[in-house]
Symmetry: C2
Subunit: 561 residues, 2 copies
């Protein structure tokens, strides 16, 4: 970790950081690091046009980046050197690119709208994908149409999705993003946290006889999810329902038929997916069931189609015009050559408020890795900390640091041209603020400009001398802007696939497996050791810090009468 | 910004980074940067006891940090060199330490429970503070007791707070944190974003005749807040109320009497505060009104008392035992000597889910600065990017990066020993997970340990050789753990004051003004320029990137029939 690399074998002989392209980028960065973006625009009148692209209803501007044609071309050299084009083809071809788990990576098959076969170990998976989709369609139509009824004969009014990580963040984000398309009278809730507050407060707002629970856990053993699922089941029975009624109110997204049946769920209402779908790429699968229940199968199909359109772009477009590749390279540029450690996602859209959380998992769980494909620790930085929240709120919170802090934080501004409501003034202000922020970050304001403006505003010389330095903005702070014509299923699908593929390309460059997550193992293992110690006292070998923490918990726990 | 410093005068002669303590810390960090925390514990059996503290019902463990007594003592030297003790006294004494705005910084006066006078320019402000508090008490009792009624004679069922930044994040965070104490039948909503979705969806859930709106804006001119306030007022009148009814349903937290009256609010229902209260420190003032309405004045007083207790600790305790000072120094250690750029806030408590957002403003708006008190750009890093979300959710999202990523991300784990609900199993799992994560981050698991464990689990040698490197954790990743006996008003108040003062101490060390926010100016100014251009087209001088973005918006805007 940071400045503290340990390599335990000689695998780094192959490090990308010893390659020609990487070294050329270091030289380029040394030479150009104090070039201000204002100069890049000044010397290249077509810059904004060339550094932007239209993808269907999505406009991407990446001209506000600290790079010119020479730099872009070096980054493309790096992509060549890392065989990015081949990596892309290998993914779509179903090769086992998730090498540590010996699996293909084929979430793209879930949204394959073409009649192309997708082979996994020589079998076309498309028939199975279509079959699950058609079961989801039928089931969701029954619930939304009121034909699927609770045990007292009433239609479903509330859906509670119980799942965590990929079984939570994707469905929650999309359901909220497409709120304008939601069926009225059908509320969708999400419960994920093992903190009992989460399930308790949700159950307080629903009625047992009109609520449908979706238990989303591939293995049906995820600790948080199963603990919450059993709490929901207990509550359901306490409300006067019987064991036999469970099957009308609980369905599963899982592959563990035995456990699902043992819970009391009719396995006809179990929707499966496959081991070539990673949790953080699963919203396109049956994990998307809450989305379908909210917006209907037709809209969900549009979401898939939008993602598929981006998949096709990604698969077929030369690297230099390939949008996920471009965004990936710009990220690599800041992380590996200009010292960025985090990346901000700033959706100027309240309906996209869960997007940063969703992308946090998509990015950080994929690329927060330090072991390369050859089993060595890398000697360069990998995936960034990803963070953010919907604008314009952030302007009144942390934008101070983005404008005048000492850290380089590249940002993606995301906005929607046409709102789903009628408050036109609100929306114009929102858009104006979004565009103004990226411009302010880029332009900055020199001491001379600040002084001049303060003089024009009538400040006296003493005040100007004292204050102006604090009102200087050095600018040159990079961002991308992504404008969606409208926040609709198709463009949202494309947007999400854009980020998925960006992350994958960065993984290819960093020579890591973006599709496993071994880093979550150790904490799980220690949690199961510590759990009994909260009652019985810390084990002999337990580290003294944790030991005292356990003792404090034990000594302060209120005894229940 | 990062590696790209520009100084435009010679003020850096005084830079803290040229001082003796700073240089000693650099030498110490070079010498110790590969020391593993496991060794620190091994060679010092009392470490956990000495590197922990009890403050009333709050237990703070800071032993899982990459530092020993020598390092702590060097950090304390740095604090001495930066005159931290004097800085603390100057704040409490009401000196104008907010030099760019020529104001004292006295949010501590808002929660001063002693009979000590607090002088601002020779006048004791305590009588005015107490007077506002007593008006808040009276008003909140009337609303909560049903004596304050809407225009149709019904009691208030919903409070909608309209405010942004400090007028939103603090009240929202505390109201949620103290949900277990909330008056049932009185719901509190928060509207902040200029995105019209925010106010629209909130208004859909309330009834005009039982809703009380709080308009929170010191100047009563904040763009987002006033736009939302007018939308609420318009909606209110459309629901059948009259102009005269506005005064029964709208109150203000503001100091602009004229504008408040012009809006139709009875200035008897205007609650003020003072220019020595910064927005991000204002939840203790009348800005806390939504908190009082939710939990009652007595609980709010306990919150103030908890903060006051921490203030007294901060004011009176020698630096080496002073908790805010210790946390501040540890932060400086990672940022300035070990290259950390962000800091994670990980509350293992769903009720603390807004704490990271709140602290984002508190920290990043305070210390995201690059101009020092003498008007020079600093030549060292200042405040970090602060981010996080409630556990255990994060474990299934971004913890991969915390455990195996390449960036150093110090973290604060915050948990509560006794839950507010009866799901005991849930809570034990929550606590076990929290304690396990900090331990896993610290301990790690070597290649040898991993190999051994895989052998015990029955893996063959080939698999072990291929997989083990991916299952290695280098550990040595630092964290603090803060345990609250219970999430109650007093301990919450202390916790928040702990962070406030930590941030202030870091500002003292970095020689910056933590209490202004000039960085938000430029974006505001450009937004007002760009707003008309969305209709009229971009102005001549507008940068070509923003120009094309404006053109795209104009060309894609749906014309309303």
């Amino acid at each position: 970790m940071d400045n503290n690399y340990t390599t335990y074998d000689e695998g780094l002989m192959n490090s990308v950081a010893t390659g020609r392209a990487w070294r050329a980028l270091i030289a380029y960065s040394e030479k150009n690091k104090s070039v201000h973006m204002q100069n890049l625009f000044a010397r290249d009148p077509d810059r904004a046009k060339r550094y932007s692209a239209l993808f269907e209803d999505i406009y991407l501007d990446y001209s506000k980046n600290r790079i010119d044609d020479e730099g872009m071309s070096l980054l493309l050299d790096l992509a060549q050197e890392c065989d990015v084009a081949k990596g892309i083809q290998r993914m779509f071809a179903g090769e086992h690119i998730n090498i540590t788990e010996d699996r293909p990576v084929l979430h793209t098959a879930l949204r394959n709208r073409s009649d192309r076969a997708v082979l996994v170990d020589e079998t076309d998976v498309m028939p199975a994908v279509r079959k699950v989709l058609s079961r989801i369609e039928k089931f969701s139509n029954a619930v939304r149409g009121g034909r699927w009824q609770g045990h007292t004969g009433k239609a479903i009014s509330d859906v509670v999705n119980i799942g965590i990580g990929g079984s939570h963040l994707g469905p929650q984000m999309v359901t909220e993003a497409l709120q304008a398309y939601a069926q009225s009278g059908l509320r969708v809730h999400f419960v994920s946290n093992i903190d009992g507050v989460d399930i308790s407060r949700t159950l307080q707002t629903v009625n047992a006889d009109t609520t449908l629970f979706i238990i989303a856990s591939k293995s049906f053993t995820t600790q948080e999810t199963m603990t919450n699922a059993h709490a929901a089941r207990d509550w359901f029975l306490q409300q006067g329902a019987t064991e036999a009624d469970v099957a009308r109110h609980f369905v599963a997204v899982s592959t563990n038929r035995n456990e699902v049946a043992r819970f009391g769920i009719d396995t006809d209402n179990m929707f499966g997916f496959w081991n070539w779908v990673g949790g953080r790429y699963s919203l396109w699968s049956a994990i998307g069931l809450p989305i379908v229940l909210s917006v209907g199968f037709a809209r969900f199909s549009e979401l898939l189609a939008g993602a598929h359109a981006m998949d096709e772009h990604f698969r077929r477009t030369p690297l230099e015009q390939n949008l996920p590749v471009i965004l990936a390279l710009l990220g690599v540029w800041y992380i590996n050559f200009l010292g960025a450690r985090s990346h901000a996602i700033l959706p100027y859209a309240e309906h996209l408020r869960w997007l940063p959380d969703y992308l946090q998992q998509a990015d950080m769980e994929s690329n927060g890795k330090q072991t390369n494909l050859h089993g060595s620790f890398v000697d360069y930085q990998t995936g960034p900390v990803l963070w953010g929240s919907p604008g314009s709120n952030g302007q009144h919170a942390y934008f101070q640091l983005l404008h005048q802090g000492t850290h380089l934080v590249p940002a993606d501004f995301i906005a929607v041209v046409n709102p789903s409501h009628d408050l036109a003034t609100h929306h114009e202000l929102l858009l104006a603020n979004c565009l103004a922020q990226s411009e302010a970050l880029m332009l900055g304001r020199t001491l001379e400009q600040t002084t001049e403006q303060m003089r024009a505003d009538g400040y006296d010389d003493d005040t100007i001398q004292r204050l102006a330095p604090h009102r200087v903005f050095d600018g040159n702070r990079p961002s991308n802007t992504i404008l969606l014509r409208q926040l609709e299923p198709r463009s949202l699908g494309s947007l999400l696939a854009l980020y998925e593929h960006k992350i994958f390309v960065q993984g290819l460059i960093w020579d890591i497996n973006s599709f496993d997550q071994w880093g979550v193992e150790l904490g799980k293992q220690l949690a199961s050791e510590i759990l009994p110690e909260l009652n019985e006292g810390p084990a002999q070998g337990r580290n003294t810090s944790t030991r005292l923490l356990i003792e404090y918990c034990r000594s302060q726990t209120d005894k229940k009468h």
